[in-house]
């Protein structure tokens, strides 16, 4: 027993003490290490895989260019939990000594922000943004789509379709329900009859709710959920004979059964151009591409910053990089320009899409 325990302690200590070289052996270019903390297993694994694909695609495309640095990606699984996120961040920051950390969704960003700030390391968090979102920290940037912009787009589409009533079904997770509360009040201001129905993650049966909403005379539905609930709700809407074209999906994101969504209008944070979506879907065999675009943009923004920030040392300092990003203000990104605000928020426009033959089709 003592040997067993000793071996565990030794293994932890040894693995924790190992360090890797900071330059690549091929061409001796300095290496910029980028650590990505994503939910690669568990309920949100499809989201994590999409984010990973966006990063890998950006890395592969940048490799073919003549750059000052090599960009190495290190992926860590956070299982979608805060404690695993903290451990992954500590491993990346203190053990792998990464130069940049990437996270996805606000909650994980909040956990990593103090760790990155403590070690003066650049941190990017991809997510939806609310106008009054408090900045994560000095060294952290939030990159994503503003809720206000997204909702203006939703209302614009609803009005263009002459929709006079819409029932919202939203999961109570992350900022999804909060976003829907804001949407509900905006719809009411536009004199559109609405009803907000929030459910807890893990619920599976929405048939009674759908019947109730049908009886109340709702003909249009807005679904804001994560997989697998998204698939389940939409399937149950179909079963209740609610036609596809009347369903507006949030796409936070859709599940793995894209045929369910044919004809549905979906809104989401930046997904990228049609070409980008097709490429990512094919290259990485993905049905869910949510998060790929944001992470692709983040990787390119990191490359852009490192390549263009002058430095007297081997690599530019975090402070210089932050100043470069803030001063540049506008970066070319897929799905439109990334606009940097003073409080470290990097805004990208929302993507409007539909599905045809089970494949995503960008509308704008």
């Amino acid at each position: 027993m003592k040997k067993f325990l000793l071996s565990i302690l030794m293994a932890t200590a040894l693995t924790a003490c190992g360090e890797k070289a900071e330059t690549s052996k091929e061409n001796e270019k300095p290496v910029v290490k980028i650590g990505a903390i994503l939910p690669l297993t568990g309920n949100s694994a499809s989201l994590g895989e999409a984010c990973k694909s966006g990063l890998l695609k950006a890395q592969r495309e940048n490799k073919s260019q003549n750059l000052k640095y090599d960009y190495e990606l290190i992926f860590e699984n956070n299982l979608g939990t805060t404690s695993a996120t903290a451990q992954a961040a500590n491993k990346l920051v203190y053990q792998d000594k990464v130069d940049v950390v990437i996270t996805f969704l606000n909650g994980m960003g909040y956990v990593v922000a103090p760790i990155s700030e403590n070690k003066d390391i650049l941190h990017f968090c991809g997510t939806f943004q609310k106008a009054d979102l408090k900045p994560l920290g000095k060294t952290s940037f939030v990159q994503g789509t503003s809720i206000e912009e997204l909702q203006s787009k939703i209302i614009e589409v609803i009005k263009s379709k002459n929709i006079s009533d819409i029932a919202i079904i939203s999961v109570n997770f992350s900022n999804a329900a909060q976003m829907m509360e804001i949407l509900e009040s905006k719809l009411k201001k536009e004199n559109i009859r609405t009803s907000l129905n929030v459910f807890n993650p893990g619920e599976r049966d929405f048939r009674i709710l759908i019947e109730k909403l049908k009886k109340e005379g709702f003909t249009h539905y807005y679904v804001s959920a994560f997989p697998p609930e998204t698939d389940i709700i939409v399937k149950q809407l179909h079963d209740a004979n609610i036609e596809n074209q009347y369903i507006l999906g949030q796409g936070i994101d859709l599940g793995n059964n894209n045929d369910l969504y044919n004809g549905i209008t979906c809104f989401s944070l930046t997904l990228g151009s049609q070409k980008f979506i097709d490429e990512v879907s094919q290259e990485y065999d993905l049905t869910n591409i949510y998060g790929a675009g944001v992470n692709y943009n983040i990787f390119n923004l990191i490359v852009n910053s490192y390549e263009n920030t002058p430095s007297e040392n081997i690599k530019p300092s975090t402070n210089d990089l932050i100043n470069y990003i803030k001063n540049t203000k506008k970066f070319e990104c897929i799905g439109g320009n990334c606009v940097v605000s003073d409080n470290n928020l990097i805004k990208t426009p929302p993507t409007l899409r539909t599905y045809k033959d089970g494949k995503p089709l960008v509308l704008e």
Binding site: M1, F4, L5, I8, L9, A11, T12, A13, T15, A16, G18, L40, T41, G48, L73, F75, E76, N77, G80, T81, T82, S83, A84, A86, Q87, A88, N90, K91, Y94, Q95, N106, G107, Y110, V111, P114, N172, F173, S174, N175, A176, A177, Q178, N200
Partner: protein, 288 residues
């Protein structure tokens, strides 16, 4: 080194949780899945106390302990009427109820958005800001809980709990009010779990309800099963193994395409093997 310190902090927090759970499950034979709920209440007491009420860390620890004790006292009255599988199901129900409250009572808990910016402990002007100082404080509290476990284990109170675990009816015949003993140990265990929650909130600096789901209760249960039921050192060793094993697996150099999935498979397989060869856990004094 800093990485190991962070790992040790989590180890300390989970040791506190495992010790407090083992008081109920190992020592008393009550299959409780409610520990994640008390862990969460402790964490939220600190988060809300420090960010909204301006209380100090140690005051919020007391606050969390008191809230947990009151809830556990009320729920314990109901739980004391059950044993075995029914006890497990009812306690799991408590865990789900608390999770739903944390998720939906937005005006207090901020709902699914969670609470961030939770501060560090402070004593007489000294802030435990560095990880090594925080670790020291965590280990002190872990030792205190370890000592409480050790003291109960050797007390006449502990002996009654063990008798209750082996045969509740016989213990009643001997003249002991088993419902009282079950309630007291449940209240004590809940209060101690709250301490771990407070440390977790301060360490991570951000909490949301997703951390305190039933699956966390099952994870804590796994710790004491692997380490050994009714054993203080089993609780600590169980926490050490289950916290360090996934971290060791991060370093084994699997291809990045499947590394995360493979790590989970290896982790599961190792736990399975441990249970095959050591079904009573590493230091277990009692087998379910």
């Amino acid at each position: 080194m800093e990485y190991l310190i962070n790992l040790a902090i989590l180890f300390g927090i989970y040791s506190m949780l495992a010790l407090s759970l083992n008081l109920v499950v190992g020592m008393s034979g009550l299959v409780s899945l409610a520990q994640a709920a008390f862990y969460g209440i402790g964490a939220y007491a600190t988060a809300i106390g420090m960010t909204s009420l301006g209380l100090g860390f140690f005051t919020t620890i007391l606050l969390g302990m008191v809230i947990n004790a009151v809830i556990a006292f009320v729920v314990g009255k109901i739980l004391a009427r059950f044993q075995g599988d029914i006890y497990a199901i009812v306690s799991a129900g408590l865990s789900i109820i608390v999770f739903s409250i944390l998720l939906n009572w937005k005006s207090v808990t901020n709902g699914p958005l969670g609470i961030f910016g939770i501060g560090k402990p402070e004593i007489a002007g000294y802030t435990f800001y560095s990880n090594s100082a925080f670790l020291l404080l965590t280990l002190v509290f872990t030792l205190v809980i370890f000592a409480i476990y050790w003291w109960i284990d050797r007390s006449s109170f502990g002996r009654v709990l063990k008798a209750l675990r082996e045969d509740e009816k016989l213990t009643q015949i001997m003249g002991y009010k088993t419902k009282y003993y079950k309630s007291v140990i449940f209240v004590l265990s809940a209060a101690l779990s709250g301490i771990a929650g407070s440390f977790f909130a301060s360490y991570i600096a951000f909490i949301d309800p997703s951390t305190f789901q039933l699956k966390e209760g099952i994870f804590l249960f796994t710790i004491i099963i692997v380490g050994g039921l009714s054993s203080a050192r089993g609780s600590v060793i169980g926490a050490l193994i289950l916290i360090s094993l996934p971290e060791i697996l991060r370093f084994i150099g699997l291809p990045y395409e499947t590394a995360a999935q493979m790590q989970q498979i290896i982790y599961g397989a190792m736990l399975l093997l441990m249970m095959i060869f050591k079904p009573q856990g590493l230091f277990g004094n009692y087998r379910m």
